[in-house]
């Protein structure tokens, strides 16, 4: 409206500047967009091609086909690693969310010394997985850790040896992962609980809802998006798990706690079988896609539905 009254030159200059201003976000974002495109898609496609090639110690480009995938899936160690990935991801994400939510709800009951509790539950996140794994390996160790302590009190046939039992070692890794990450879930849930409209809670209380019912029917549905955010972040922690296993059990006892990331590292850098390692890496990408593709489709669907209603 105001542009119509201005002289012609002024309009042209301001429209040039306006166009530049409109393009500025794209210009600023372009380098990082290009970089993410190259690092995600180009390298993923390159890895896929390598997995079909005859690479051994160094990448080479002779096309072979899907033979490496067959070799990979005929290996028991890989099958154990892949099923461990699903067991670990499922239990780790669900239990970290439940414990994090429990802690957040407990802290949200106007407890004294809230900052102290929060710090205690959040500090493991500042510790790397490698250090976490090392410390817990000491605690789980029968010769020096919890078992040794309890036996020294006089309970001489007490057993607590998670990492030396091949059926239980995976649960030791899950428990340690939860120890590390549930504080993160707690922090996000606490932020969500604080953001819930107090009027909603008051309305539920006036209607005579018990505390349990208020949480289940009012507060938790309100913070539902946080569950998804936490689950996605934890899931990508879970799928790239490497250092936790390397420090805690080294994939043992036997091959019971092999993980895909450790397997890929072993094939690529220890055994010089880059093609099979790339095939294993592609299978990890597939595991991630199984979760992330439905999630992004759901996001698109929800946005469409919301804009449809609006």
């Amino acid at each position: 409206m105001s542009e119509a009254i201005r002289p012609a030159e002024d309009v042209r200059r301001s429209s040039l500047r306006g166009r530049l201003g409109q393009a500025l976000p794209i210009i600023v974002l372009a380098p990082s967009l290009v970089a993410s495109f190259v690092y995600v898609f180009v390298f993923a496609i390159w890895t896929f091609y390598i997995s079909l090639s005859n690479s051994s110690l160094l990448p080479s480009y002779g096309f072979v086909g899907f033979g490496k995938y067959v070799t990979l899936w005929s290996n028991t160690r890989w099958k154990i690693a892949y099923s461990n990935l699903f067991l670990f991801s499922g239990l780790y994400v669900v239990l970290a969310i439940l414990i994090g939510l429990g802690l957040a709800i407990a802290i949200d009951q106007r407890v004294r010394g809230e900052a102290i509790w929060r710090t205690i539950f959040l500090y493991p996140l500042a510790v790397s997985f490698a250090v976490t794994g090392t410390v817990w390996a000491w605690l789980y160790s029968p010769d020096a850790g919890i078992e040794f302590l309890v036996r020294s009190f006089g309970w001489s046939d007490f057993t607590f040896r998670l990492t030396t039992d091949r059926n239980l070692a995976i649960y030791a890794i899950i428990a340690t992962g939860i120890w590390q990450s549930s504080g993160f879930a707690m922090a996000l849930f606490l932020a969500g609980l604080r953001a819930v409209d107090p009027d909603l809670v008051k309305a539920a209380q006036i209607d005579g809802a018990s505390a349990y019912r208020t949480y289940r029917k009012v507060i938790i549905p309100t913070i539902a998006p946080i569950f998804i955010a936490v689950a996605v972040v934890l899931l990508q922690f879970a799928i790239k798990t490497f250092d936790l296993v390397a420090a805690l059990t080294q994939g043992g006892p036997g091959i019971s706690t092999q993980f895909p990331a450790n397997y890929v590292y072993d094939l690529m850098f220890q055994r010089g079988q880059i093609a099979e390692g790339a095939a294993a890496a592609m299978m990890m990408l597939a595991a991630l896609a199984v979760v992330l593709v439905p999630y992004s489709l759901w996001l698109v669907w929800r946005r469409r539905r919301e804009s449809g209603h609006g």
Partner: protein, 64 residues
């Protein structure tokens, strides 16, 4: 009359019940937090405590 009003809340069974329920709730919340805080702090405690102990003693007496 005034005395009766003053004494009335002290024997009100509903109020005692509510107070007891509140106390139990607090106890539950704090014990839940304490149990988890113990598990979360244990590794840190082990690291800090062992950093002050000589190696032979750690080998002999264990880490904790």
């Amino acid at each position: 009359m005034a005395e009766a009003v003053l004494h009335a809340p002290a024997v009100d069974p509903a109020a005692t019940l509510a107070a007891r329920r509140y106390f139990l709730g607090r106890l539950g919340v704090y014990s839940f937090l304490t149990v988890f805080a113990f598990i979360y702090v244990l590794p840190l405690f082990v690291i800090v405590a062992n950093s002050f102990r000589p190696l032979p003693e750690i080998i002999q007496n264990g880490l904790i």
